[in-house]
Structure formats: C-alpha cells, structure tokens
C-alpha cells in the first residue's frame, strides 16, 4: 500500500474553492433562515388561526424530513413549481433554508415562550402596543437566551451543507469526491476532506460550548 499525499496539495485551489462554497452556503442560509425563522415563529404564535395552522404544518413537516430528501425534492420540484431552471447552488441554498428556517422558527418560538407572560402584561400596562411589547421587551431577552441554540444550529448547518453535494453543488464534499474519482487516490482525498471539515468544525463546536456557558439561563 503506497499513499501519495501530494495529490491533496496539487488540488489545493479546487479544495479552497470548495471550502469557500461551503462557508458561503452556511452564511447565506443562516442570513435567510434567521429573519424567516422569526417571521414564522411570530406568525405561529400571534397570527390569525389559518396562518397559524399553515406555519405549524410547515415547521412540523420540515423538522420531520431528512434533509437529503428535501435536497433531492427541491432539485426536481422547484424548477417545475417556479418554471425557472435554477442552478444547483441556488437549489441547495433553497433546500437548506427551508430546513433551517423550520428549526429556527421552533427555537424562536421556545425563546419567546420562555419570557414570562407578566412581562408582556407589564409592558402593555405601561401603554405599549402588543407589537411594541414584542419588539422592545420580549424579543431582546428571547434573543439572548436562544443565542447558544442558534450557535449549535449553525454548526449543524455547517455540517449539513455537505448534503447538497448529491445535486452537484461544488462545495467541499463534492469537489473532494470528484478529485477522488479522477485520481483514484481514495484514502488521501477522503482523509483530506475529513481533515478540512474537522479543522473548520472543531473550533466552531468549541465556540458553541463557550456560548452555552456564557449565556446559561439562570433564574
């Protein structure tokens, strides 16, 4: 058995580009899924009855589906629904956003619910409207509480971006496996892929631990 690790260095540009796409997907998905998650959570808590049902159904559906299936589904169904030929990257982004929005909505809902009712009552007694009480009293406190949960969703999302490789989005997992099949250096490329994910993911996992200590809820 001889290993030739130079193959990793030879493809450094492609791997770097793949890593860039992975990070881009993570950031873009979170940028979409946080505001959308807040909207869905607020609709689910305060919206009119039919909208509440739709929001609940959406959250429950996407929490109960494997992401890889959502990715395939988006790849085949989105072009037909929208009539647009979306590039794989946009399809992957859509699938990830649909999934993470559902999780974020649940996180925000739990965060909002964790703020005691008395606070809203007090805010309204002081003459604030419901919207003001939500925006200025409940959300700022809820946000602080759910930061650690959002951080751990972030790490899961970072790892889950690897799943869009099945629809040929050129992120880290896809490019590594492409190089593997072109060069037949299986062990080298797969180990390099795992190592790059580890180097990026390990500090993030440690950061989540730190967040969980830092923002521990004490009442």
């Amino acid at each position: 058995m001889t290993f030739d690790w130079s193959v990793v260095w030879q493809h450094r540009d492609v791997l770097a580009a793949g890593t860039g796409t992975t990070i881009l997907l993570t950031v873009a998905t979170m940028a979409i899924a946080v505001p959308c998650g807040i909207v869905v959570a607020v609709l689910r808590l305060y919206g009119p009855a039919p909208i509440r049902t739709v929001a609940t159904a959406y959250v429950e559906l996407f929490r109960n589906l494997p992401l890889i299936l959502v990715v395939y589904w988006a790849f085949y169904v989105l072009p037909i629904l929208t009539g647009l030929g979306l590039p794989p990257l946009a399809t992957g982004l859509a699938a990830l956003s649909l999934n993470v929005t559902a999780y974020n909505a649940e996180t925000f809902r739990a965060g909002i619910n964790s703020i005691r009712r008395g606070q809203v009552d007090a805010a309204m007694a002081l003459g604030m409207s419901r919207g003001q009480a939500l925006r200025r009293v409940v959300l700022p406190q809820a946000l602080r509480r759910i930061l650690p949960v959002l951080a751990s969703t972030w790490v899961s999302l970072f790892k889950d971006t690897s799943l869009v490789s099945v629809i040929a989005v050129a992120e880290l997992a896809y490019v590594s496996m492409q190089i593997r099949s072109q060069t037949f250096r299986v062990l080298e490329m797969l180990t390099a892929m795992a190592t790059i994910y580890w180097l990026l993911g390990y500090p993030q996992a440690k950061f989540v631990d730190w967040m969980q200590c830092r923002f521990k809820v004490t009442e």
Binding site: L69, I80, L190, W198
Partner: protein
C-alpha cells in the same frame, strides 16, 4: 402538469423493502450508539486522565465532521486501511454508530452532571462505594432526565439513515432514487418518500414532546 402515482403501486414492494432497511439500520445504530455512548461518557467522567483526553477529542471531532463524510470515509477509505472490504450496510452501521455515539455520550454526561454533587457526597458519607453511588444514586435519577434527549436522538438517527443512500445502502432514500431514475417520475416518487419519512418521524418527535412534559417533574431533585 399531470401526476401519475401508479408508479408507487408498481414499485410498492421495492419501496417497502427500503422502509424495512431504514428501520433496521435506525434500530441497530440507535442501539449501538446508546451502548457505546454510555461507555464513552462513563470513561469521560470516571476514567483515567489520559483516556479522558482521547475521549474528549473523539466526541468533539464527531461533532465537527459531517455524517456524510464519516459514512463515505468508513465505506471507501477504511477498507484500504484495514484490508477488509465490507458491505454498505455494515459500513453504514459502523459509521452511524460511531458518529451518533458521540452525541449519546454528551447526553449521558449532561444527565449525570445534572445530579447535584451533594448527593454523591451524602452517599459517600453513608459508606457506599463509587460503583454503588453511580449505579444506585446517580444513574436512576440521571436516566429519567436523559430520556427526552434520547428520543430526539432517535429521530436524528432515523433522519441520518437517509444519508447512507450515498454509499448505496438499499434503504428508503436509495430505493426512491432508483425508482425515480427508472420511471422518470421524480416528483411523485420523492413526494411519496417524504410522506413515508414523515409518517415514521412524526410519531417519534410527537412522543418526545410528550415525554418532555410527562417526565420533566420526575427528574427534579
């Protein structure tokens, strides 16, 4: 747009076999990660110091690497290292178990650490041995607190088995891909697969939500 769902009926047996493999893989890797998770957590909490460092590295590494990468590495690269080839199902079982055990270990650790140290001290004052303290004081209380988190892990396990399709394990995701590819009706097939996964997962997550409410007061001390 016309949809023709007869493709589902035509391949009902094939898809059902996929459901069977999904459930078997989920049950085995769920059980495996539970056992391994307990061992790892106990080593982390009570093991010798040099072993603790290794165990922490293992847990944090698994939290940092995607399941897809673990599965692909186990199936394609591990045989090169060991010289043994293995069928996809076994590779998936090993990969999922090793990955999920890290999460199970964190659940076990959190459960055990949530039992106040005063209880351990009181037990020691009463003359119980360390093993007795863990077995008779700490674990019975900690187990109740771990239950809901294990439920969540079960639903994650079922979802993660779908990723085994990437290494050609004939579970529901893979079988759906095959049918979709042969029949050129991906929308019907994948939508149906969504329904099946939802039917498998929804009772689990609902059960977990219930468990959270039912068990919460039992774990108080």
């Amino acid at each position: 747009m016309d949809f023709d769902f007869s493709v589902i009926a035509d391949h009902a047996r094939f898809l059902a076999s996929g459901v069977g493999v999904t459930l078997t893989l989920a049950a085995l890797s769920g059980l495996g990660s539970l056992v391994l998770g307990f061992i790892v957590a106990l080593l982390r909490l009570y093991g010798p110091r040099w072993l603790k460092a290794i165990v922490v590295l293992y847990i944090d590494s698994m939290r940092a690497i995607p399941v897809l990468v673990v599965l692909v590495w186990t199936f394609f690269a591990l045989p090169i290292v060991t010289g043994l080839t293995m069928p996809p199902f076994i590779a998936a079982l090993i990969g999922l178990t090793v990955h999920l055990a890290a999460y199970a270990a964190e659940i076990v650790r959190a459960g055990i650490e949530s039992i106040r140290p005063g209880q351990t001290r009181a037990a020691r004052a009463l003359g119980l041995s360390p093993a007795q303290i863990v077995r008779r004081i700490v674990l019975p209380q900690a187990l109740v607190r771990m239950l809901p988190a294990f439920g969540s892990l079960l639903s994650i396990t079922i979802k993660d088995t779908a990723i085994a399709s990437v290494i050609a394990v004939g579970e529901l995701m893979r079988q759906s891909e095959t049918v979709a590819g042969q029949s050129f009706q991906p929308i019907e097939v994948y939508s149906f697969a969504m329904l099946l996964y939802f039917l498998m997962l929804f009772p689990v997550t609902r059960g977990v939500d219930r468990l959270y409410r039912r068990v919460a007061h039992l774990g108080r001390s």
